[in-house]
């Protein structure tokens, strides 16, 4: 019974989480968002006591069932291991490709060492290290950076069909421009997992994964455990040979030993046992579940991505005077002007989404799973390649801006790095403020009237005022007068934008829609602490 239930749950969670990461349209979140919030480590980061309690209770009840059914990285390894059975060209008595595992000694010191290192990194705020070891995030990065692009390609093919048939079922989406570094990290993780799982089953879970180790030592005290009825057992060793966690030790004349810190309660041994001797029961008895062995060094799976190279730090010069489009008098009709791509300005403080409270809060809580980035419909969120916020989301406004009706990143975030926020709350959260770059501004650089930023500002934080300082507004009649006291019509004047920092929320609409290219004449500088206005 255990194995089929575990399998169904595993498939449901795995598909659900995968879809959540693939989806760009926001349709999955209402149905599947809870699955990300059922993940253990993100819940610890978020202080989500409900999930923490559920996982702990389940573990104390029946062992590491969580690792078998809920964790997408665990299920991914089972999938890789399932592929790996082709490695062994012999069948067991039931006609299945199997019998390829054998008991291995636990690598206790390595496990505890990694866990200790992980906790130290967590407490010291070394997020780049934390995120590399976080299992759910590792899975997220693989899907978001390597698979979502395929999903979007398929969608775009369907969108072509949709357009050809004049319906609106599918629409074109631009795939996220993932930095190479992110893809390398994800690919390296996937490769290591594949090799380990293909050859040895759940090695990663039982040596590296900090969640696996934590839940493993807790599972030693679980109420129900995989136990062997020694009266039925014939010591055939099938269970050992089929245990992907390599945690069952069968020896002639000895009781069968289980290492419950590594058992993921998958039920494979139960289903493979010809004598029906294994079951998940509470009856303490014939097995010895507290043996210790010497730690031995792991074979070659010391997964480490070389993070020392910091050469990827994108160094952008300060915004020089932008070569803006020079409007010319046209002589013929038709055609489209070329549009120069926007460049990202250098921001002293990174911009983080409303709900993240501060860059520090985001940095401390985020495990860089990429879920918010994969879900951002505006092309704003992208992984940072700086060391301090390695692969965590940061905002840029060269391809879009943080739209007022969108709270998707806050909706999906399972770690509390971006806290839930409503549209209404969002309009009052100041994540940064707009800064004017005089040299780039069209009225100054080209004597061209503009006002795009002021017209679009959703917070009404930008006003246009005459460049000519001698033209003043009379507070009594709200009209503008020149030095001689003549009333002037603002429609005839060159005007520049002035920003009311107190009202600006930092959404970036002004920066995105500013006609100055490649550097906008108005850009948003982040705030260390988000504030309410």
């Amino acid at each position: 019974m255990l194995k089929p239930i575990r399998r169904i749950l595993a498939v449901v969670f795995w598909l659900g989480i995968t879809l959540l990461f693939l989806d760009f349209s926001g349709t999955m979140q209402p149905f599947l968002g809870w699955m990300a919030k059922m993940q253990f480590l993100p819940s610890v980061m978020a202080g989500n006591f409900i999930t923490i309690s559920i996982v702990l209770i389940v573990t104390l009840l029946m062992g590491r069932f969580y690792c078998s059914a809920v964790c997408p990285l665990g299920v991914l390894q089972d999938f890789f291991a399932w592929i790996g059975r082709w490695r062994v060209f012999r069948k067991n008595k039931k006609g299945k490709w199997a019998n390829r595992y054998s008991y291995s000694e636990p690598k206790t010191w390595l496990r505890l060492g990694v866990l200790a290192l992980f906790i130290i990194m967590l407490l010291s705020g070394f997020s780049a290290g934390v995120m590399l070891l976080a299992p759910y995030s590792s899975y997220g990065r693989i899907v978001a950076s390597l698979l979502q692009v395929i999903y979007i390609d398929i969608n775009n093919l369907l969108a072509q069909w949709s357009e050809a048939n004049d319906n609106f079922l599918f629409y074109q989406v631009e795939p996220h421009n993932n930095p190479l570094l992110l893809m390398l990290v994800a690919a390296a993780t996937a490769l290591i997992l594949f090799v380990l799982a293909f050859l040895h089953g759940r090695t990663y879970c039982n040596t590296i994964c900090p969640v696996g180790t934590t839940l493993g030592y807790l599972a030693k005290f679980s109420f129900l455990k995989m136990r062997v009825d020694e009266n039925k057992c014939i010591k055939c060793g099938l269970c050992e040979k089929n245990c992907k966690a390599a945690c069952i030790k069968v020896e002639k004349g000895q009781p069968v030993l289980f290492d419950y810190t590594r058992c993921v309660a998958c039920g494979d041994c139960q289903s493979v046992c010809a004598k029906g001797a294994i079951s998940l029961t509470k009856k303490a008895g014939s097995t010895n579940d507290s043996f210790q062995t010497n730690p031995s060094t792991p074979s070659g799976e010391a997964a480490s991505s070389d993070l020392s190279r910091r050469s990827f730090l994108a160094v952008t010069g300060t915004a020089v005077v932008a070569a803006t489009l020079k409007a010319q008098e046209k002589t013929t009709d038709g055609g489209l002007a070329a549009i120069e791509e926007k460049k990202v300005p250098e921001r002293k403080t990174p911009l983080t989404p409303p709900g993240s409270l501060s860059a520090t809060n985001l940095q401390e809580h985020c495990t860089a799973c990429q879920l918010c980035i994969a879900n951002c419909p505006n092309g704003v969120l992208r992984p940072s390649t700086g060391m301090e916020h390695f692969l965590q989301p940061e905002m840029q406004y060269d391809q879009g801006y943080c739209r007022p009706e969108c709270t998707r990143c806050a909706d999906v975030c399972p770690t509390g790095a971006i806290r839930p926020i409503t549209k209404e709350e969002k309009t009052a959260v100041q994540i940064g403020h707009a800064v004017w770059m005089k040299e780039n501004c069209l009225p100054v650089a080209e004597e061209q009237r503009c006002g795009s930023c002021a017209r679009h500002c959703p917070a009404q934080a930008i006003q246009m005022v005459p460049i000519d300082k001698s033209i003043r507004q009379n507070p009594d009649d709200q009209q503008w007068y020149d030095a001689e006291g003549n009333r002037v019509d603002l429609r005839d004047l060159l005007m520049i934008p002035v920003v009311n920092d107190e009202k600006c929320i930092g959404c970036g609409e002004c920066e995105y829609l500013c006609p100055a290219r490649p550097f906008s004449a108005i850009y948003v500088e982040g705030h260390e602490q988000h504030r309410e206005i």
Binding site: E163, F168, K326, T331, D333, A337, S452
Partner: protein, 473 residues
């Protein structure tokens, strides 16, 4: 036999519908019934010898009532583009142009209207190539082109002469049958003085007429009535051989609906008729807008003549005015050409009741829709800030026609309409070329023959899109 039976049946059905539906619109609705396919569409060959011709009183030219406008030539993509924000490199599909021009000539069309400004400056050359390739003798067709000196740097005498000589070269000919001062009226008298009167360009053109390099001299008019009146008042001096005006059943009485500066067709046509100056008609279909009509109007028109296209009403309308020399149509596709050929081979004129019905009921209904009067002529383009202005307006109008511009969230089809508008918007116009990028520099508006306040309309559409996106309509 079988065929005959089917046709008889269709004839009877057509008569019955027409008779029952609109006694006032005359009983001739089945007189043009040709071969019909089972869906009720014309399917037989297009007659090649039935074209209606009008005679130019000055030269005796027999001009086909259908004139070919060379402003909306077919384009083809030269290379694919990976960046959706960059326009795919395109060029005029010369092979297709040749085919269309040959087909038109074969079916009796003999008037071809181009300009140095059209198609980013490539229309004249393309027209010249296609006419040459058709194999027809130069005496068998009439070429109309224009002096399109809109930019200040083109407005000297020398530049004017150069432009005319260039037209002769590009069109591979040594004379122009119909030469027009291009789009006078916009910018008022001042503009007319700058472009033609003060610099001697008009004198030059009149000399060319004396010499025979120009056979007919005229002007095309958009904009302020003052200029039109001035030019006609000096008819004795200039001897206009023809004048090109915008006319169709909506603009007949309601041209000022979209902009008070626009002059009604009834006035323009009347003034020309009074003086015996033949009228060449532009925008008989309003850039296709009188073909792509709201469903309700389509149903009303189709009910009268189910077998005829919606566009055919607009062409028959202008053709029914006797002082019309030719009606120009920018036929991009073979289907457009075929449909128009059928309509004018021969013309079945509308009677006065039918004309009045279009001018009042249908036109009133049409202007009650919030359509932007853009005819996709691209005079406003290229926008220096990269916007695709006509594409934005065409998308907006398409949504108006389809009922996808909801007034508020309570509208019955709000959700579908919202999706259709927004998804369709991204399809029709790349994000970087959409209305929100308009900074309001207003370089476009002076070029618009329809006097659309382009930035104003773009900002209005931008606001509408924002409300749709934010669900705050």
């Amino acid at each position: 036999m079988k065929d005959l039976n089917r046709r008889d049946f269709l004839k009877i059905a057509g008569t019955a519908t027409a008779a029952a539906a609109l006694a006032s619109c005359g009983g001739n609705s089945n007189s043009t019934l040709g071969d019909l396919d089972p869906a009720g569409h014309h399917s037989g060959p297009i007659p090649s010898d039935k074209m209606t011709y009008r005679t130019n009183p000055n030269t005796g030219d027999k001009v086909s009532l259908l004139g070919y406008g060379m402003m909306r030539l077919p384009y083809r993509q030269v290379a694919p583009t990976s960046d959706p924000n960059e326009p795919a490199p395109e060029e005029i599909d010369q092979e297709q142009v040749n085919k269309l021009v040959k087909f038109a000539l074969d079916h009796g069309v003999n008037y071809f209207d181009t300009s140095p400004a059209y198609c980013q400056g490539h229309s004249e050359e393309s027209t010249g190539i296609a006419l040459k390739a058709s194999g027809y003798d130069r005496s068998k067709f009439f070429i109309a082109t224009k002096l399109s000196n809109f930019a200040p740097q083109q407005q000297s005498y020398e530049e004017g002469v150069k432009m005319f000589q260039n037209s002769l070269k590009n069109l591979q000919t040594d004379y122009i049958d119909y030469l027009l001062l291009h789009a006078v009226g916009g910018g008022g008298m001042e503009n007319l003085h700058q472009r033609f009167l003060d610099n001697g360009v008009l004198d030059y053109l009149m000399q060319q007429r004396e010499k025979g390099t120009i056979r007919n001299l005229g002007f095309s008019f958009h904009g302020e009535a003052e200029v039109f009146d001035y030019l006609l008042a000096n008819h004795d001096k200039y001897h206009w051989d023809f004048v090109q005006i915008q006319m169709n059943y909506v603009d007949w009485n309601l041209a000022d609906e979209s902009n008070s500066r626009n002059v009604d067709g009834v006035y323009l046509y009347g003034e020309l008729e009074k003086r015996g100056i033949p009228a060449v008609i532009m925008e008989p279909l309003l850039g296709g807008r009188l073909s792509k009509m709201p469903d309700h109007i389509v149903a009303t028109l189709k009910q009268q003549r189910p077998e005829d296209s919606v566009a055919s009403w607009a062409f028959r309308y202008v053709g029914s005015k006797p002082n019309v020399l030719t009606a120009l149509s920018g036929m991009t596709y073979m289907e457009h050409l075929e449909d128009n050929l059928r309509t004018y081979s021969p013309l079945v004129p509308l009677d006065e009741k039918e004309q009045a019905w279009l001018e009042t009921e249908i036109a009133d209904l049409y202007v009650s829709y919030p359509i932007i009067p853009c005819n996709d002529c691209k005079y406003c383009m290229p926008c220096p800030y990269g916007l695709d202005i006509p594409a934005i307006f065409v998308h907006y109008n398409k949504c108006v026609n389809k009922g996808n511009v909801p007034e508020n969230q309570q509208a019955e089809n709000y959700q579908q309409a919202r999706r259709a508008f927004l998804v369709g918007y991204d399809r029709a116009v790349p994000k970087l070329r959409q209305a929100n990028h308009c900074i309001g520099c207003n370089r476009c508006s002076p070029h618009c023959p329809q006097n659309i306040r382009i930035p104003h309309e773009l900002h209005r559409i931008d606001e509408f899109v924002e409300k749709l996106k934010q669900n705050t309509l």
